[in-house]
């Protein structure tokens, strides 16, 4: 009993340590967002200060508003997520169910794309987009993001589809459902947890992406990850504004996480009750 309690104590202690290391930069950044530029640079750092929304007001409604950039990020991320899911769900279902020649090979390809160092392919991507005139366009950057997010989403979703016993579909066929009806009414509701997880990952990857965006975007398409550097120049770094932009950029991610969490947990419990083995 005491040994058990001791183990629990150590576990909580170590976890707390990691949590602290993880949360410190986030807290530091959040605090800075509510400071004036002078307070940010004060030494020793001020823990007690008079909070202000000046930084937020400046980055949202000032001369260099990041609102268009947030919009840009949203268009890219939502666009990538919608196209990815629309293609990945049927592809993953097919990969999990049908006997297709070269299925194993397809699985390897999917993983291989995740291992390529992005810098290795960024130049060919740039040349391709330039030749078709898609540099600095939404369709251009979404297309490039798809080349990563689509294989990843398929790979993630396949395992959820594979968890559903074949008899589930066979029952639906015998009940008179077509393959598409079966997917929509019987299969998808059972993988909604997996779909939620995948949506979160795909959206986050697109939202946080920097390297490709910096090369392939321009003045029309300028996501917030790039626009942040408006506040960093050779002469000075506007820390409070930078922190305010960070906080704003984090907000949709947090909202998405909270919303998706409900579905993820629900998906898990649905998976737990389904009966029957797989053939």
């Amino acid at each position: 009993m005491t040994a058990k309690r001791l183990r629990l104590g150590i576990l909580i202690g170590v976890s707390g340590l990691f949590l602290l290391a993880w949360i410190f930069p986030i807290l530091w950044s959040l605090l800075n967002a509510f400071k004036t530029e002078q307070d940010v640079l004060a030494y020793p750092p001020k823990l007690v200060f008079s909070p202000t929304l000046d930084a937020f007001r400046d980055v949202l409604f000032g001369a260099t508003s990041i609102l268009p950039n947030l919009a840009s990020s949203f268009i890219i991320s939502i666009g990538t997520t919608i196209v990815t899911m629309a293609l990945a769900i049927p592809a993953a279902y097919a990969l999990a169910r049908l006997r297709i020649p070269g299925k194993r090979w397809a699985g390897f390809y999917v993983l291989a794309t995740q291992m390529l160092p992005p810098v290795g392919i960024i130049i060919p991507y740039f040349l391709i987009l330039r030749n078709i005139g898609w540099i600095d366009t939404y369709q251009g950057i979404i297309l490039i993001y798809l080349s990563f997010s689509l294989p990843f989403a398929i790979w993630l979703l396949v395992s959820y589809f594979e968890d559903i016993p074949f008899e589930m579909e066979e029952a639906a066929f015998l009940d008179g459902a077509s393959r598409l009806k079966t997917l929509r009414r019987i299969i998808l509701p059972q993988v909604q947890g997996g779909v939620a997880v995948t949506v979160v990952f795909v959206f986050l990857n697109a939202w946080n992406e920097f390297l490709f965006a910096v090369v392939l975007s321009g003045n029309t398409v300028r996501p917030v990850t790039i626009a942040m550097f408006n506040f960093v120049s050779v002469e000075q770094t506007l820390w409070a504004k930078l922190a305010a932009v960070s906080a704003l950029a984090m907000l949709p991610v947090i909202v998405l996480g909270v919303v998706a969490q409900k579905h993820i947990v629900k998906g898990l419990t649905v998976g737990a009750v389904k009966g029957g083995g797989r053939r």
């Binding site: 016993p165 008899e167 066929f173 015998l174 009940d175 459902a177 009806k181 419990t269 009750v273 009966g275």
Partner: protein, 350 residues
Amino acid sequence: MSARGQVQLDGIVKKHGAFAALKGIDFEIKPGEFFALLGPSGSGKSTTLRILAGLDAPTSGRILVDGEDVTGADARERDVAMVFQSYALYPHMTVFENIAFPLEMAKRPKAEIGPAVREAAAKVKIEHLLDRKPGQLSGGQQQRCALARAIVRKARLFLLDEPLSNLDAKLRLETRVELKKLQRSLGVTAVYVTHDQEEAMTLADRMAVFMEGEIRQIGRPADVFAQPNSIEVAAFIGSPPMNLIPARYQDGSVLIGGRRLPTMLQTHGERDVVVGVRPSAVRFEADGIPATVEVVENLGDAAILDMSLAGTALRARYDRFPLPREGDAMGVTVRPEDIHLFDPVSRRRL
């Protein structure tokens, strides 16, 4: 209406690579019949049922339902309903939605669906559970939900693959009786897969005994029990299983334990045979063949005696009390009509 649900299988072969799971299956099922596919695990019963349902395609052969060739037809075009061993209930839907699903797919009007679902649920006594999800049901209730989903559409064929095997023994017996009543009241053709010979015996109008991808015998359960056509069928049907004793046949009798037992077979000559005797057919008489009781298995209202007669093992059912004790000497005999004779080489009935 009553003429619906006639089935004919013609030379069905199913190969998985070089392995033949079915080696040529032929049978015919009459409308309204309760037909069992009985056999040990791996004998091809489920494969046959799945081919009949349209879930798998045969390598060769034809399937006719009501005279119409459905060999190439999709599962959903065949108008058959199936209960899976795992029930395959849709976990995200309520019991009501599960039962309503086949009607919805058949595009029945909404006003019709509610009453039909309630009627099917009432038939299997789960009308109070319609708002639950499958995960909130006991095993027996899930099984009933699967049954209701299968009967609600009034399909012409009702296929069941070991539907009772996930229930505990007591519930299995209860459900067995209800299943029979249900099928009778619906008048629907049922094809029932089981490895439990008792289930097939009690439920089926006729049954096909499967072994190694072949049908070994087709007939009414009582006939198959009374006249098994091979040693394998004889050994599979009946519990405890039939005694199978190698012996010598001569001019209308067999030599067992140093005594001659007359048989129904009355041909001249001498040959090796396998004598089949059901444990329940062994009779006890003071002047019978001397036997020693080795083990007594008391079943409560009867006992199974493991006996030895001149080195030959024999199991017998004994229902008089007090029971004999281990080591007791008894005399046993068998009436001629209770002796089954088989050829030891061809393994066929003589």
